[in-house]
């Protein structure tokens, strides 16, 4: 479903040195990234802040064009076929909403229906289904800005799935949520993956997400993939450790050491 082969993205950063002198420097946000995700997988994507997670997500969704390598999502090259790809993927940004701040939630959904050209009958069915499972009913008529973070996130997830995409990409979907909302979101994502066979890739800092949801974990640091395997395999790298937190902390600090 997702194929990444030697993908890289470098930026040229201009730094001001003194009044007129400027220095150009090439920064590799992501380099030589390769992995494959098969249909129906549920993959967690971990890494410390600034490791290249967001850059990867942006490349997979077609927001950012890679400077090297080859990427295919649902069989399409994201950077060339961005608009075609949009119909095949759902995207959720935990840090900001894709909904419209001033509009009632259900009007946001109407806008999305028109953007994806979903016909009215199918849209109504899908919305009924999603609002049933995500319990959106009580706040469908409220403007998005009045929703709590948990409500908003459920709205955002529904919005990403209204056009029934085979791939769902979530960037920190549980950030800032309380325990109850977090559990609801996790339960829902597990259901989507298990029942509809939706391929899910999520980034997170919350290791609970990983433990409860992801059969496979990928770790990125300094723009490079440092681990790719099952959760058990990740645990096995440091056998005497018990909690997953310790494992990951150890991996983070190990890779963060100067090379």
């Amino acid at each position: 479903m997702i194929e990444v082969d030697g993908a890289g993205r470098s930026f040229t950063v201009t730094r001001r040195k003194g009044l007129l002198r400027r220095e150009r420097e090439v920064v590799h946000a992501v380099s030589d990234l390769s992995f494959q995700i098969a249909a129906g997988e549920f993959v967690g994507y971990l890494g410390p802040n600034g490791a290249g997670k967001s850059t990867t997500i942006k490349m997979l969704t077609g927001i950012l064009a890679p400077s090297a390598g080859r990427i295919r999502v649902a069989g399409l090259d994201p950077s060339r076929r961005r608009t075609a790809l949009a119909r095949h993927i759902g995207v959720v940004f935990g840090q900001r909403t894709t909904l419209w701040w001033d509009l009632p939630l259900k009007d946001s959904f109407t806008l999305i229906r028109h953007l994806y050209k979903v016909d009215q009958v199918r849209h109504r069915e899908r919305l009924a289904e999603l609002s049933d499972v995500l319990e959106l009913g009580p706040f469908l008529d409220k403007p998005v800005r009045q929703l709590s973070l948990g409500q908003r996130m459920r709205g955002d997830i529904a919005a990403a799935l209204l056009h029934d995409p085979p791939v769902l990409i979530l960037d920190e979907p549980t950030i800032g949520l309380d325990v109850v909302s977090k559990a609801a979101v996790r339960e829902f994502l597990r259901g989507v993956n298990a029942e509809r066979g939706t391929t899910v890739l999520l980034t997170t800092h919350d290791l609970g997400d990983i433990e409860r949801l992801c059969r496979r974990v990928m770790l990125i640091d300094h723009g490079r993939l440092t681990f790719d395997g099952t959760l058990d395999a990740l645990r096995a790298t440091v056998p005497e450790e018990t909690s997953i937190e310790d494992v990951v902390t150890r991996l983070y600090t190990r890779t963060a050491e100067p090379r």
């Binding site: 927001i63 950012l64 064009a65 900001r96």
Partner: protein, 268 residues
């Protein structure tokens, strides 16, 4: 062509959703429509006050100036209502909402243009249309020349839209200075309210040959009103509006695409 129709259809459907949402508060919507009508009446009032003190301005009578004001006003207000939001690009980039537009299957240009579609701006269109109607009633333009009026309004819409698009595209480079573009878009609106004969020769040549705002109303109006060009520019320029409009639109489209390409390779 099919693609353009598809985009137009998306635009209309999205705009309708915004209007329906705003119509939940009919009183507020009516107030804002009337308000936008009154605000633009001030420009017209300024012209009337000027003509309290003089018979002609830059060699043009009150109905002639109202004709110029009305045609440019209708073009400007329609372009602003339909596409004026494109100049909010800097805000969208800073807020991260531009990225969310890129994950949708519709051109980000259309999404930005229609974002918070404000039907109440129709008040300004109406105001300019009334001024134009009053001017036409007093001018007695012969039918042989009147055909130019719809052509010039249409070209004006394209020219102003292209200006907004250029302003938006500029913000791919300067995300931190959005208001720079205002000087050209709103400045263009202000410029075309008066006969260009009041401005200096160099300015007029600049808005004829560089930023072709003279074709919004001035050049075609010289034809409609059958007046000699005070700056002695060639007669055929009066018919060059469509060429200017298409040229500027192409330039704007190119700039927008280049800006978008740059954005997608730098991510900021």
């Amino acid at each position: 062509m099919g693609e353009a129709l598809g985009l137009a259809r998306s635009y209309v459907l999205l705009a309708a959703t915004w209007v329906r949402a705003a119509a939940q508060y009919p009183l507020s919507m009516a107030m804002l429509t009337i308000g936008s009508f009154v605000v633009t009446c001030l420009d017209a009032a300024a012209i009337v006050v000027i003509f309290v003190h003089t018979e002609t301005l830059g060699g043009f009578s009150l109905p002639e100036v109202m004709f110029l004001y009305g045609t440019a006003g209708v073009s400007f207000a329609l372009a602003d209502m339909l596409f004026g939001n494109v100049d909010k690009l800097g805000q969208h980039v800073r807020a991260g909402t531009f990225d969310t537009m890129l994950i949708r299957p519709v051109s980000p240009f259309v999404q930005m243009a229609v974002d918070r579609f404000a039907f109440q701006r129709v008040g300004r269109v109406l105001q300019a249309a009334i001024v134009l109607a009053v001017a036409l009633a007093r001018l007695h333009v012969p039918w042989q020349r009147a055909w130019m009026i719809p052509v010039m309004v249409l070209c004006g819409i394209v020219l102003f839209t292209a200006m907004w698009t250029l302003g938006g595209a500029l913000q791919f480079l300067l995300t931190e200075a959005p208001e720079i573009a205002n000087a050209f878009t709103y400045g263009g609106g202000q410029l075309t309210q008066y006969p260009l004969s009041v401005y200096g020769g160099e300015l007029v040549r600049a808005v004829t040959f560089i930023v072709p705002l003279a074709f919004v109303n001035w050049q075609p109006a010289l034809y409609v009103l059958d007046r000699p060009d005070p700056f002695g520019l060639p007669y055929w320029l009066r018919f060059a509006g469509p060429v200017a409009a298409v040229t500027l639109a192409c330039a704007a489209g190119w700039a927008w695409r280049a800006g978008l390409r740059r954005y997608r390779s730098t991510g900021s």
